[in-house]
Symmetry: C2
Subunit: 121 residues, 2 copies
């Protein structure tokens, strides 16, 4: 069996769309996903799970109801289960998400920015 | 509540020892850990869980019984549950591990390189 590392740069170069996470790896029942953010997402929450954001390139913000958190390359943040949040990025940035398989990007909010939750790249 | 991002550089600068993972974040029942590797670890496996390696800086190898996988900065690999493996790094490298809380670094092998599994940094 030939094992292959997952290279973030190679994977990011394969897509251009924003707010649409692509799965790159599975660990137990969890998915590692890459996504490009630009502009403003929707307010939402995930009632059943925490969600990890890791900035691979660029910078982004996560708005909470009481403050805005800035995240830059080389930083990680865990959005707790049930916490309303809204991702934002002034310029395009490259993000890795870690969350349970089947987690929907727009959480309880839904709407037009809802992406398929099982797209591998 | 003041939320703080976890900055990998700041966390790595806080320790010098090798093969001793430090927890930086928890997502549900999973831990994100930073660790510095240099030299050769022990053959071991984790019978109950997959284990994710992400190279933050430098490069490392994971020996399997049938091949050796090289991983460099910006690459990720999931070691499947039950797979015997031995991490190796010629020069010091900086790694992030993702695995269930309580996972022991030496798996089923134990021995003198076994680290505490609940050290936060």
């Amino acid at each position: 069996m030939k094992r292959m590392p997952v290279n973030f740069r190679e994977k990011f170069d394969k897509f251009d769309d924003h707010w649409s996470p692509k799965i790159i790896a599975q660990m137990n029942d969890y998915h590692f996903k890459l996504v490009k953010f630009q502009g403003e997402f929707v307010w939402h929450k995930h009632d059943d799970t925490d969600e990890v954001f890791i900035v691979i390139n660029g910078e982004m913000s996560i708005e909470f109801r009481d403050e805005t958190l800035k995240l830059k390359k080389g930083e990680l943040f865990v959005v707790p289960k049930g916490a309303e949040h809204k991702p934002f990025a002034e310029k395009e940035c490259e993000i890795m998400l870690v969350e349970p398989a089947g987690t929907v990007n727009t959480g309880d909010t839904g709407g037009s920015l809802t992406a398929e939750d099982d797209v591998w790249i």
